[in-house]
Symmetry: C2
Subunit: 319 residues, 2 copies
């Protein structure tokens, strides 16, 4: 690690917020030395609790996230927020006045907010979110809230690696729980029915209960269903209390934790190797030649992929 990294690490560890920001940026953009930095950070991680907050667009995720953060801060905890949702006001993706809708921003003053563009995350969205959460953890945050839109597969993968998942549903979105049901159902620890003053809120609760019974596993802990009106702060204290209670009962050293580490390891190795291949292909002009061969009808993507991977296959066979 060069002296620039070294200085940044020292500043971050001593509590400098600008250093924290810069460190995240350098890790996110995979600047040389990022792996060594993460290696050094790793032993300082494992203290923060990661909470995923997900739901369909327009469900009020950002408002709810900021409300939850405020209450945690009031209770004396330190909080970081990672906004993966590209349309989140945290991400600056708001064109249509969303910023105005953000309430109680003053209580967020001590909260470190980091938005992640879904594109351009060189290590992949999942891994970048994991890296950033680890850095915030090492920085000393007690809680890291990860806000993500719960519709895309990649976004769902992000919340799979947290300690506890809140899924936000709202009445009056036409298809009710349709938007969030695939793949999210099984990872939800708490369903939050937000905008609960709207007509149809009870129907949403019923829909969730029906869904839970259909997919019921008698051994598993049934997810809670909690009503909130995030814009007015109603129900949020109760939600936070329940979340903290639930976190106490969840064991982190179980099979799920093992899976999570496996996923992360494979993901890291994958991105590294792809980086190596891209670099090699760029330096040798191999990618251009391959593309031209395909365009000219001399070859096809499958044959070329096989040719490129053959030596790697051979390498693993030897061992």
């Amino acid at each position: 690690m060069d002296s620039k990294w070294r200085q940044l690490m020292t500043d971050m560890k001593s509590g400098s917020v600008p250093a924290l920001s810069r460190l995240i940026t350098r890790v996110e953009s995979r600047e040389p030395g990022w792996m060594e930095a993460m290696q050094e950070i790793f032993p300082d991680t494992g203290k923060a609790r990661l909470i995923g907050i997900t739901g369909s667009p327009g469900a009020g995720k950002s408002t709810l996230t900021s409300q939850v953060a405020c209450i945690l801060v009031e209770q004396g905890f330190t909080v970081g927020i990672i906004a993966v949702d590209p349309s989140s006001p945290f991400s600056g993706g708001a064109l249509l006045g969303d910023r105005i809708r953000m309430r109680d921003v003053s209580c967020l003053e001590g909260v470190f907010v980091r938005s992640m563009a879904t594109r351009g995350a060189l290590g992949g969205l999942n891994q970048s979110a994991r890296d950033v959460a680890k850095i915030m953890d090492a920085f000393g945050k007690d809680f890291v809230l990860i806000e993500t839109v719960g519709v895309g597969q990649d976004e769902i993968e992000v919340v799979k690696t947290v300690d506890l998942v809140l899924v936000i549903c709202v009445p009056g979105q036409g298809d009710g729980i349709q938007a969030i049901k695939a793949g999210v159902l099984e990872i939800a620890n708490i369903f939050v029915v937000n905008k609960a003053d709207r007509e149809g809120a009870d129907q949403v609760v019923l829909d969730i209960e029906t869904m839970l019974e259909l997919g019921s596993d008698s051994d598993a802990l049934k997810p809670l269903i909690i009503k909130t009106i995030a814009t007015r702060g109603e129900g949020i204290s109760f939600l936070v209390d329940q979340t903290l209670d639930l976190l106490k009962t969840l064991d982190r050293k179980d099979a799920w934790q093992k899976n999570r580490i496996q996923e992360e390891l494979i993901g890291l190795v994958e991105k590294e190797i792809v980086g190596l291949i891209k670099k090699h292909w760029n330096e040798t002009g191999g990618l251009d030649r391959a593309v031209n061969q395909i365009l000219d009808g001399e070859s096809d993507p499958y044959s070329i992929a096989q040719k490129v991977t053959a030596p790697v296959a051979g390498f693993f066979k030897q061992k």
Copy 2:
């Protein structure tokens, strides 16, 4: 290729729909021989036009997709549909009566519909969709419609590889175009304002126009904006006419096409190598050992990833 593959290929080429289905399943699940099958199929591809249909959940994508398919069939074209959206009725992901909403299913009789679970696609969602589209292309389909929810990053990547992209917006979804704006704006060829009989439809058109002006590139072809009411079939003929006109003007052998092949090549190589590593790790028990080292605090994911990739890095350096 063994005799089972051989038979399947022969049957598929002679027009057997069950063979087409089985072939897709085998390729999707990466059964040994899938690459050779795709190599053989590749020269028969390139004739079908791929149309991506995307938008937020509840925008009426499935209804619109089936309507577009019906009109293409009426005009004498053969059509395939790939539903990537996990909550699409095509995907069987509908719990809440969506199937009832599907109209004119009779006209879809000759249409081959394939739904893709977003999880379990071994080659990754993008590559699987590309493979399936190629197989449908080789089977002789004139058009392949790919329906996908336009919110997740992975899902957006899918529609990036098609010839033409329809983005569906609807009035009354609270945040209007908010849900679909990130990353989708720049790839839309036609914006479809569906449910145009609803209040606020003109506002959605205005919002899109404003957005297009903000991101305007004077050289680029401005996307069209077309109003439809898919449940009543209104506006669909006009939409199909415009789509066909636009397809004629789009050149497929441009820089974009080159990018597309590059992306596909890198994706294929990536998945192959990750498969090799996973296999190697499973056979040697290396993954379990690594996870235990991390759980016991003896190592961290970053150090292990670096160790595993070092020989591959060395291999590429030699060459």
